[in-house]
């Protein structure tokens, strides 16, 4: 060891420690506490503000809509019924949208003249009309023509609307599969159909799964709009309760909370799927 000073040792005075105050303020616990405090203040101000407006908060009436325990035993309330209906509606519409979306995506990618034109026309038509107007169209115009009831009209409308979004996901997923796969498939003599079925589609699923699960959440949110044509589901039940009892704020917040719980559960599922199928770039 030479007598020369170690050139890698830090020179000069060490950096001053940040002041005690900024250490506290920058810490995680303080931030979280401050956040909780701000949220608490917002809730408190809204509550008393509404009361000052003359609104009579009646939270005690809410639990009966979730469940009731009567002489007949335990019974689920209207909100739970509405939630089940929402899930049923969303699931059916999603299945329809997936099938239709796949067909449209394949049509779009086919390269054929009329097939491609029809699919593009369909996509552009549905993409540029609001969901509410589409629902009215399905229910008031196509409903009488084909004889749908309101539930069928809602499922069809939601299915068609989301099929457009899903077809784009399919198309992106299919196009993301490396070109080399196509070439390999045709070079061993597969037809286009066989290539799709055995090589391309299975691989494209990996790309499609994350956005698809996002579409499930989107579908649950879109399903709320069918309340305008009185289809039994969560939002409709909420509006009916409000028109009977005038508890607007409590019901709307409760309904919003139920939707949040559902979508959060779904999102947890989404992140689990994403982790499993993450595409390592």
């Amino acid at each position: 060891m030479s007598a020369a000073t170690d050139i890698y040792a830090p020179k000069g005075k060490p950096l001053p420690k940040p002041a005690r105050v900024s250490q506290v303020i920058d810490s995680v616990t303080f931030s979280v506490a401050l956040y909780a405090g701000i949220i608490g203040v917002i809730i408190y101000v809204s509550y008393t503000g509404a009361q000052a407006m003359g609104y009579n908060w009646q939270w005690y009436r809410i639990p009966q809509y979730f469940y009731t325990v009567t002489d007949d035993g335990f019974q689920w309330g209207e909100i739970v019924y509405g939630l089940l209906k929402t899930i049923q509606l969303s699931a059916t519409a999603f299945a329809l949208a997936t099938v239709l979306g796949l067909i449209v995506a394949l049509m779009r990618l086919s390269g054929l003249l009329i097939v491609g034109a029809v699919s593009v026309g369909f996509l552009e038509l549905i993409r540029n009309i609001p969901l509410l107007v589409l629902l009215y169209l399905f229910y008031y115009v196509l409903g009488p023509v084909f004889g749908f009831d309101r539930y069928t009209a809602s499922v069809l409308c939601l299915g068609v609307f989301h099929s457009v979004l899903i077809s784009e996901i399919f198309r992106a997923g299919i196009e993301a599969v490396a070109k080399g796969q196509w070439e390999a498939a045709t070079s061993i003599g597969m037809t286009k159909g066989q290539a799709y079925r055995y090589i391309i589609l299975p691989q494209s699923i990996r790309f499609m799964l994350p956005p698809m699960t996002g579409e499930v959440v989107h579908m649950v949110k879109s399903s709320a709009i069918v309340s305008v044509i009185a289809v039994a589901e969560l939002t409709t039940i909420g509006r009916n309760i409000i028109s009977d009892t005038y508890m607007s704020f409590e019901i709307w917040f409760t309904i919003a909370a139920v939707y949040m719980v559902v979508t959060l559960i779904l999102s947890v599922g989404v992140s689990m799927v994403e982790k499993r199928y993450a595409v390592s770039q």
């Binding site: 995680v28 931030s31 979280v32 401050l34 956040y35 701000i38 949220i39 809204s46 503000g49 509404a50 049509m107 086919s110 054929l112 003249l113 009329i114 097939v115 029809v118 552009e124 038509l125 993409r127 540029n128 009309i129 609001p130 969901l131 509410l132 107007v133 589409l134 009215y136 169209l137 008031y140 115009v141 196509l142 009488p144 023509v145 084909f146 959440v217 649950v220 949110k221 879109s222 399903s223 709320a224 709009i225 309340s227 305008v228 939002t235 909420g238 607007s248 704020f249 709307w252 917040f253 309904i255 919003a256 939707y259 949040m260 979508t263 959060l264 999102s267």
Partner: protein, 294 residues
């Protein structure tokens, strides 16, 4: 033309047959089974009409609704971009509290159906704001004054101004969440080196954001922002549920007054289609031009 016909595959013919069959069935049902009297002749009257009393041409229900939708969309977009940019910056902030608050707002808006959000914002926020800022009497004074033509061009009938503003505020608050995400993605896509460069010449965080990061971020996310504008126009149909006098609400009124069920809804859908499709074509062309120049 003939050589195009030769390229047709059997699937083409199949699809063509299905489409023709579909529309044919609809036509047959409407004419034959439902006995519906098409009254298309009455629709142009509801778009533009020569007023019997005032003896002048004026825009009737549907056109009024269309213009209201356009106005609301433009104002809500401007407000949404402002709020969304603030939200996007807050999401990238160094302060954990601000990040958490922004994240909460975002998750609240992203996980709840638009219908529910609109109702909550309407009852809970915009009413309060309008009362607090006394917008109503201000609008009424303008409606009574003589030089209201300019105001009416921008905002329509000034007496209905509070309702217009409610719609704009509610729509802007809702869309700001999505704009916020777009802006955040834009900000995070700006190369870290840019920020380090800014810091090294002595800019503070605010200056760095304003002069270096934001301009680049916004330029990058212009295409998604343009798409969000079109989405906003479509979402504006939902505010008809809070009785804002835009195109969908006017169509509902038209149907309630005249039972022109089919014609009214098909016309309104056509209006929205022309508006949104036209804009998306326009944006596509602008984007191509922009890219070619680069």
């Amino acid at each position: 033309m003939l050589d195009k016909l030769k390229k047709l595959h059997w699937l083409d013919y199949l699809v063509l047959a299905v489409v023709v069959g579909f529309f044919g069935y609809i036509w047959w049902q409407i004419e034959g089974v439902l006995n519906y009297n098409w009254r298309w002749g009455q629709i142009p009257n509801y778009i533009v009409r020569y007023h019997t009393g005032r003896e002048e041409w004026f825009a009737n229900l549907l056109l009024q609704g269309l213009v209201a939708t356009i106005r609301i969309s433009i104002y809500a977009s401007i407000l949404a971009v402002i709020l969304g940019t603030i939200l996007g910056i807050a999401r990238c902030s160094a302060n954990l509290t601000i990040r958490m608050l922004a994240r909460t707002y975002l998750e609240f808006l992203r996980n709840i159906p638009p219908v529910v959000v609109i109702f909550i914002f309407f009852f809970f926020l915009s009413q309060q704001l309008i009362n607090a800022l006394n917008i109503e009497s201000w609008a009424r004074t303008i409606a009574r004054s003589d030089d209201k033509a300019v105001w009416e061009f921008f905002f329509g009938d000034m007496r209905r101004f509070p309702s217009l503003i409610s719609g704009v505020i509610v729509l802007a608050l809702f869309e700001s969440a999505f704009v916020g995400e777009i802006v955040r993605a834009g900000i995070q896509s700006v190369d870290k080196g840019q920020r380090e460069g800014a810091r090294s010449i002595g800019m503070n965080r605010f200056q760095e954001m304003r002069y270096i990061v934001l301009p680049q971020a916004i330029k990058r996310v212009l295409p998604p922002l343009a798409n969000q504008f079109i989405t906003l126009i479509k979402d504006s149909a939902i505010i008809s549920l809070i009785s804002v006098q835009e195109l969908t609400f006017k169509t509902v009124e038209l149907v309630a007054s005249t039972r022109l069920l089919f014609e009214a809804w098909i016309t309104t859908a056509a209006f929205y289609f022309v508006l949104c499709f036209g804009l998306s074509m326009l944006f596509r062309r602008l984007e191509n031009r922009g890219q070619r120049r680069r």
